[in-house]
């Protein structure tokens, strides 16, 4: 036997964690979608029945990924990428409008969201680009092109009115950071995030006043350093402009539902009224779970459809309510285990392509986890993205399976993947 065989080197820890998460996911979808008033009707008419079909399809796809030669992914990265970009654009024009977004493509009775598949395609393309022989990771141009690779699909997805899915692509900054992209940008990004939140929460003139005082203080302390004074002045002007811009965008550019979500997150009750309903219900459902939960199918809040989107975006509520703190923590730790395993796997790759791809996988899963669970427990604004492997939804189930199994394939073949 060839010791380079895919089958001998499969990472069973990742596969095991994947299978456990998929199982937890299906049980949760069953619990959330279980309608005790209506058990009549075909199994496959219910969300849990359909989810099982998707799990089956995902299994077949996963197997196919393991069988296909790894060159298929490395060599054809740009092809995948290009195809997905075309599909993303196509969705805007040929796709129907589902809940205000133009992100779906319908073929016969089959519907899917190219945005879900854009994630792994972009990961492949980014890995491909950054692992090319002639690439100098210290050059600004390199990072300019790298950022363009993942900002392009992001922009198209924003045009599809799927801001939530688009936001996922920002995680590529973190991936880039791992491979040499300046940490300063991440800090600046964080600073801007804080500024935006402050600008929305407080009066813009107060913030500018405080920024001014801070700048004056800095200038006074560093009065001998001319460069520092100039930078401080520049930062002040830029951040003041940012605060004003944020305010302007919030007031004049944003659509009502986007404003509402921001209001909910910031807890501005006056503008909120019913919009905070989802989050409050979600928090009540999770909070009422207590230490060990109410038990399988015993969650009253998730059962009676208090929490909207409870099989997809708010699936974590069912887990929180029915299995309590113990169950939720176990789920989070399983995810953490998977993430750390992926990082470990990433670091053992010889090929830079595989390594970058692995970080992209970890980043995407992490970002979904962070936003999705963060939103159900009220730490993050409501952004409708699914919980990987758990939430109901064919596209996301399939996309995450592909994402992970390409990594498993690359890892299994790590001895033969050179670039």
């Amino acid at each position: 036997m060839d010791k380079r065989s895919t089958w001998k080197n499969l990472d069973w820890i990742m596969i095991g964690l994947y299978l456990i998460l998929i199982s937890i996911g299906w049980i949760s979808v069953y619990a959330a979608g279980y309608d005790f008033t209506n058990v009549i009707g075909s199994f496959f008419n219910h969300v849990y029945g359909r989810q099982l079909i998707w799990i089956g399809i995902s299994a077949i796809v996963a197997l196919a990924i393991l069988i296909i030669d790894n060159k298929f992914y490395t060599a054809l990265s740009y092809i995948f990428y290009g195809a997905i970009i075309l599909l993303l654009i196509a969705a805007i024009f040929v796709g129907g409008v589902v809940k205000g977004s133009r992100s779906w493509i319908t073929i016969g009775s089959f519907q899917f969201q190219p945005a879900e598949f854009a994630k792994f395609a972009t990961s492949l393309a980014l890995a491909k680009y950054l692992s090319a022989l002639n690439i100098d990771l210290k050059k600004a141009k390199t990072w300019g092109i790298a950022i363009a690779i993942f900002v392009l699909p992001m922009l198209i997805i924003i045009l599809q009115n799927e801001t939530g899915s688009a936001l996922v692509f920002t995680v590529f900054f973190l991936v880039s950071y791992r491979f040499g992209f300046s940490g300063l940008f991440l800090l600046v990004g964080l600073f801007i995030g804080v500024l935006v939140s402050l600008a929305l929460l407080f009066d813009k003139y107060y913030i500018i006043l405080i920024l001014g005082i801070l700048t004056a203080l800095t200038i006074y302390l560093l009065r001998r350093e001319r460069v520092a004074i100039m930078i401080a002045g520049l930062v002040f002007i830029l951040s003041s402009g940012f605060v004003l811009a944020t305010d302007y965008i919030y007031m004049h550019v944003m659509e009502p539902h986007q404003k509402q979500r921001i209001d909910v997150f910031l807890g501005r009750e006056a503008n909120v009224k019913d919009a905070d309903y989802n989050v409050r219900q979600s928090k009540i459902a999770i909070g009422s779970g207590g230490l060990s939960g109410k038990g399988f199918l015993q969650g009253t809040l998730t059962k009676f459809n208090f929490v909207p989107e409870q099989t997809s975006d708010f699936i974590f509520c069912t887990i929180g309510e029915e299995y309590g703190f113990v169950g939720s923590s176990v789920l989070l730790l399983l995810f953490l285990g998977l993430l750390i395993r992926i990082l470990f796997v990433a670091e053992r790759q010889r090929s830079r392509f595989s390594k970058i791809y692995a970080y992209a996988v970890a980043g995407i899963i992490f970002f979904h986890l962070f936003i999705n669970i963060g939103m159900t427990i009220g730490l993050v604004p409501v952004i409708g993205i699914p919980l990987p492997f758990i939430s109901y939804g064919g596209s996301s189930m399939l996309a995450f399976t592909i994402l992970l199994f390409i990594l498993i394939k690359l890892d299994a073949d790590r001895l033969s993947v050179l670039r």
């Binding site: 008033t37 973190l174 950071y177 791992r178 491979f179 040499g180 940490g183 309903y277 409050r280 219900q281 928090k283 009540i284 459902a285 999770i286 909070g287 009422s288 779970g289 207590g290 230490l291 009253t300 809040l301 009676f304 459809n305 208090f306 929180g320 309590g324 703190f325 939720s328 923590s329 989070l332 730790l333 995810f335 953490l336 993430l339 750390i340 990082l343 670091e347 970080y359 970890a362 992490f366 986890l369 962070f370 669970i373 963060g374 427990i377 730490l379």
Partner: protein, 610 residues
């Protein structure tokens, strides 16, 4: 080769940090903070019970005597209260600002989430203005409640009242009742509870954290519609009832009026009575305490519960028994009584009366000696009964067939038995079977251990009015859409008495009013047959009794009137009965009898309250 190896740890650290923050947050939400559990409970599904309208009650002439009136409760959920104009709310509710503050503090202490009863029993007219301004008071909302209302303010004992079901009842009755539900407590309200109450409906609503209804659950698949209670038609003539209550004002006692041909109760007065609306509505608790503490016991329904010695009103029955037992020869004179008779060492006192040529006169003049004598002959009739025990039990059998010593079966709860003694009782009492008729002779003229409720006395009179039988007395003559229940309930009870004997007794009772002890009861144009009674009792002055029916042929009304501690039967009971008859038969009181009516209205026999 990899210059940025260390950044691996930054990323891994970020992952771990976020997961840790999430776990801490979850620990706080799920384990530490109890608020979510509270909210979850008031969240979820809400069962909203819709209470059906309780059935109405009409009198025999289809006048509405008991209906439902809306009252409003103002509720508050403390958590939702935001600063409001307390003076305005105080003005609307007619309470002080201080009261508002105190109640709010109490509500908050009870639970900030749960609805708290802020002010109960707001009348519809006052509530109108409250409702219009309610939007100014966030956290407050209203709940409508119906209370029973009594347009005639009469027949309290007959109608009864409703109140919150007790924990014991909830357990005993199982299933239907929940805490806070109302249930009939006495009177028709209790005995016809199942019919009057209807059936509750339940709606399942989804309710959010702010107690706002989010719509019905499962499109109302599980909702049940409340079915209203059925209406009743009572046999009561509410005007006659009111009139009886007025005649009995400031007196203690009772009036029972029955239509003998059906057993329908026309009026049932227990005095002192009370305004039934006192036990309906917001001050029910307070009023109940007040009525309960009253030494004259207004809550006690004397008409069906109080055992009185029937006194001379028993004599017609004694006469009938004597004749049926063939110890009384109706037309034989009786000459033993000269101001009383002596039985051994015992002297039975009697009042001055002329000679007694026949049984009719004995009844008319109410001769104690006559009935004492024949009581002994009945029970000591050794040719018929081998011992006195058998003799007395035969006598007791007659009483039972006349509804004495047993429940008549009226459709009211807690009917009293009265007492008709039998041989077992005396054997126990004298601790020997060797007791004599001379020892118990006073029961032969309605004294001694014998006792009967006013209802039983009236019912006994029904058998004479009907010449031999009685119907189960009842207060409800019709249930909306349903006649089977009542048909099963109301039975004809035969006394086994010969019609001829009855006619002789009736003749005697006619003489009572025409020429005997109750001439005062005479009404021109109406032949009344009756019997006065003056019952000795250990509580003071004699009870005044009168039992009668009218007219003699084809009687329309039977009456038993008892006025406690007021003296001779003829003084109070007979005039009251005769006024009742006149009111019932003629609808009004003749001018020349107005003085009598006035005297009855004015008569105050209550002990002055210390």
């Amino acid at each position: 080769m990899d210059l940025f190896q260390s950044r691996r740890w930054v990323i891994q650290g970020a992952f771990i940090l976020v997961i840790l923050v999430f776990i801490l947050r979850l620990f706080y939400m799920q384990v530490v903070d109890e608020n979510y559990k509270q909210l979850a409970n008031s969240n979820s599904l809400r069962r909203i019970t819709s209470y059906p309208a309780r059935g109405l009650v009409y009198d025999r002439k289809q006048r509405l005597i008991l209906y439902n009136k809306a009252e409003y409760d103002l509720m508050v959920i403390p958590l939702q209260v935001s600063p409001f104009d307390t003076t305005e709310l105080a003005r609307l509710l007619d309470i002080s600002v201080d009261d508002i503050r105190k109640t709010l503090v109490k509500a908050r202490k009870t639970s900030p989430y749960k609805p708290y009863l802020f002010q109960k029993g707001i009348q519809a007219d006052q509530f109108q203005s409250v409702r219009e301004s309610l939007f100014q008071f966030p956290g407050f909302y209203s709940q409508v409640r119906t209370v029973r209302s009594y347009p005639f303010m009469a027949a309290a004992h007959v109608l009864g009242y409703i109140g919150e079901v007790s924990p014991k009842q909830i357990e005993r009755l199982g299933g239907y009742y929940k805490q806070g539900d109302y249930i009939g407590i006495t009177g028709i309200e209790e005995s016809y509870e199942d019919i009057l109450r209807g059936n509750k409906g339940v709606r399942y609503m989804l309710v959010d954290v702010n107690n706002r209804e989010q719509g019905s659950f499962a499109e109302g698949k599980y909702d049940t519609i409340a079915s209203p209670g059925l209406n009743l038609t009572s046999s009561i003539d509410i005007e006659l009832q009111q009139y009886g209550e007025k005649l009995m004002q400031n007196k203690i006692g009772s009036i029972v009026a029955i239509e003998p041909s059906t057993g329908e109760v026309l009026a049932m007065v227990s005095s002192p009575s009370y305004d039934p609306s006192l036990l309906s509505g917001k001050d029910r608790g307070k009023n109940f305490k007040m009525l309960y503490a009253d030494p004259n016991k207004p809550l006690f329904n004397r008409a069906i519960k109080a055992p009185y010695p029937p006194g001379s009103t028993f004599k017609p029955l004694m006469a009938a028994i004597g004749m049926q037992e063939k110890v009384i020869q109706p037309w034989a004179p009786f000459s033993m009584c000269h101001g009383g008779i002596n039985i051994g060492s015992l002297h039975i006192g009697c009042h001055a009366h002329g000679g007694i040529p026949n049984v009719c006169v004995a009844i008319a003049v109410s001769c104690n000696g006559y009935f004492a004598n024949y009581f002994r002959e009945v029970v000591d009739n050794r040719s018929r009964y081998k011992n006195i025990a058998e003799g007395l039990d035969a006598w007791n059998g007659y009483l039972k067939r006349f509804g004495l010593g047993i429940k008549t079966g009226i459709d009211l709860p807690n009917e009293g038995y009265g007492f008709a003694p039998d041989s077992k009782y005396y054997t126990k009492r004298y601790k020997t079977a060797d007791w004599r008729s001379s020892m118990i002779v006073s029961i032969g003229f309605g004294q001694g251990e014998l006792s009967a409720t006013p209802l039983q006395i009236a019912n006994m009179m029904c058998s004479f009015a009907n010449r031999g039988y009685w119907f189960t007395p009842h207060l409800v003559k019709q249930i909306q859409n349903d006649s089977t229940i009542l048909k099963e309930r109301i039975q004809r009870n035969d006394t086994g008495l010969d019609t001829a004997i009855c006619n002789i007794v009736v003749k005697g009772m006619e003489d009572v009013v025409e020429a005997g002890t109750a001439r005062i009861a005479k009404i021109p144009g109406i032949t009344i047959c009756g019997k006065t009674g003056t019952a000795q009792n250990p509580h003071g002055k004699d009870h005044s009794l009168f039992a009668c029916f009218a007219p003699k042929d084809n009687p329309k009304i039977v009456l038993a009137v008892i006025v406690e501690n007021s003296g001779f039967g003829a003084t109070w009971a007979a005039p009251i009965a005769s006024l009742m008859i006149e009111k019932f038969m003629n609808d009004s009181i003749a001018d020349n009898r107005k003085y009598l009516e006035q005297r009855m209205f004015d008569g105050n026999l209550l002990k002055p309250t210390p």
